[in-house]
Symmetry: C2
Subunit: 383 residues, 2 copies
């Protein structure tokens, strides 16, 4: 291999592929990035066996070839180079020579022949979504994914592909979030109808979606998605990411979401968030719970926490309340997570009784009505 | 105790005192802040037995009293309160009631009678220095302090008090930094002459100086210093900090600093820093060293590192060189630390031979001459 490329492109490709490498020492080659000339371009690939990534950049190629080099070393080196110079690459006896201006390095590599094969998309992409809408949707549900390894089906986001929308949901069995993403006609590929005919629901691993949200930056326009043989493929502005899917059956959660609520309290999101954070200071010890007390006579919401060891606290906030008075006990962290996933200036707290799921909902700033398309519910702590 | 104060003052006092509390569980009261009414003000104090701090704020006192409460809980609570409200404090049965607007808490405290006594300054301050000059000087030497507990005299900054300057030095025996701070006439207290007559040199603990630099903020004007009975006292805009001094004799380091150097290379600081950081990427493994090669014929400086495992790198930089060619091996981290403590745009690398200390010096941007007042030397690695 012998070639010249811009340092800017090189840097971007290293940073994109560096993240998706193996961290364990059992298979050292997974810590490497593969560099490979292909059709007049330089292709970068890396994998941790769960996720794989490809990215190509323009290059002036003098001699074809391929080599794998340690990702972190390459990244640290590139990160310290002065910007806006070309980079010259040449390999010799499994050593990669890099030169940029007065700066040069010889990096010891490993043979490309031992690098694992990363699955490639055979067909076409099924759907195409606005990248920022997708990223925002992920951010509103991903925090609910469980890290419990005994229940692999909880360790990812369940995704239903429907005719004109996709529905994504995540739960750790204590709380659940669900979001809908509309599909416009021009974002649906030719094969999509056949696909939803045969297989409609998949579970995408947490890490995969977490990486996807990192790859989407301010300039990203769209994300393409395809599914083939238990693998999901994403394409984000020239970066291709492939990931295994999680085997297992996501719980039938639809019937857990209450169809209607008896009591609803609407108040300013920031005030509510602050009160819950204050209570969280006191709930942080053994009890780990706060109480929400909706007083429908006084039109007050009380947020309280008590700790044998630390003391107690109480906040009274005015709220628009419909329905009877209620008291529920909740994990304050779940409440904070949910409020942070609501982007409107007001929030609705919806309660049926002390043991039924509590809903947090966004309120349309203009109409004052509940915004559809996003559900977040928390199981109360039974006393 | 019953009083009202502004939340802003309360917050500032909690944050200042919260940092200096005990972290271990052996003496739980050290995790508390003492609140105490005194002469129409509310006094906050905390200590970790090595350092103590006092701060007073204005308050409308209805009833005198004192109580100690957990610093972290108080800080977390205050941190989440909405700003610009008054705070009401009242204690009852060792519980502190705090109310601010609609937000309230009861915090379980411990009796003030068990709180350790923090030494108080009996006399006057000896000297007064511009706070930012002091903070900058500390930042240029503090990183050399050794964390080696076997040599307590290395775990602080040696400070010589001289007639018209103080000289501060720190070393971990591998590198050494020394800085001079001039004393102007109006910054010297009445007793200073007597003081330097009897005791001229002290060792101030690393943690103490580290806290001092945190307390000095953009608005701080000056810092007052006094020494009494193995304690050092600082006063920074109403915050009083007292610390024990380190017993022990700081090494006689003056004779280690070369009086003159045979070879000097001057070059742009940023270029040199970048080259050393690049070499550090490769030196990071077993060898842990880089070589500086001053070629006085070609007027080139070569920065190189080699690693059996990773590979090697090399940078060539043009430099103004006086004296014969040299090659020295250095720990790249020590070089990076030293360059970061130099604020001029050019840096001078001064070398006598492969085994004598190497100096890094600031260069006056206008005259091109070496700036006096700051010394940083590194012991080379012998081959």
């Amino acid at each position: 291999m012998k070639l010249i490329c811009t340092q800017n492109n090189f840097r971007k490709a290293v940073f994109t592929t560096e993240r998706i490498t193996g961290k364990q020492n059992t298979l050292p080659i997974l810590k490497n990035i593969m560099l490979e000339t292909e059709n007049g371009q330089l292709k970068f690939s890396s994998t941790n066996l769960e996720i794989g990534v490809f990215m190509k950049i323009g290059a002036k190629i003098e001699k074809e070839g391929k080599i794998t080099v340690p990702a972190r070393l390459l990244g640290d080196f590139i990160n310290n180079l002065p910007k806006e110079e070309k980079v010259l690459l040449e390999d010799k006896n499994k050593i990669l020579n890099i030169t940029s201006g007065n700066y040069s390095a010889k990096i010891k590599g490993l043979g490309a022949e031992d690098f694992p094969i990363i699955p490639k998309l055979e067909g076409n992409y099924l759907i195409s979504l606005p990248a920022h809408k997708f990223k925002e949707a992920i951010s509103r549900i991903l925090f609910c994914v469980s890290v419990n390894e005994n229940r692999p089906e909880f360790s990812g986001v369940n995704t239903y592909f429907l005719e004109n929308k996709i529905t994504m949901a995540a739960t750790d069995s204590f709380r659940l979030a669900e979001i809908n993403l509309e599909l416009k006609n021009d974002s649906i590929g030719e094969n999509y109808k056949n696909f939803i005919g045969e297989k409609k629901s998949i579970i995408i691993p947490f890490n995969t979606l977490s990486e996807i949200t990192r790859v989407i930056d301010d300039e990203t326009k769209k994300i393409n998605i395809a599914i083939e043989e238990n693998q999901i493929f994403f394409e984000i502005d020239g970066v291709q990411i492939v990931s295994r899917l999680i085997n297992g059956k996501f719980p039938e959660y639809k019937q857990i979401i209450p169809k209607k609520f008896n009591t609803r309290a609407v108040l300013a999101k920031e005030d509510f968030l602050r009160a819950v954070k204050l209570s969280n200071v006191f709930a942080d010890s053994k009890s780990g719970e706060i109480s929400l007390n909706i007083d429908s006579k006084k039109k007050d919401l009380f947020i309280q926490a008590q700790s044998q060891e630390l003391g107690e606290n109480k906040t009274r906030l005015k709220a628009d309340i419909i329905g009877p008075s209620q008291e529920v006990f909740l994990n304050p962290r779940y409440v904070i997570d949910g409020v942070n996933a609501i982007f409107s200036s007001n929030v609705a707290i919806s309660v049926n009784n002390e043991s039924s799921p509590v809903g947090l909902k966004a309120i349309d700033n203009k109409t004052g009505k509940v915004l559809a398309g996003y559900v977040y519910i928390i199981m109360p702590i039974k006393k």
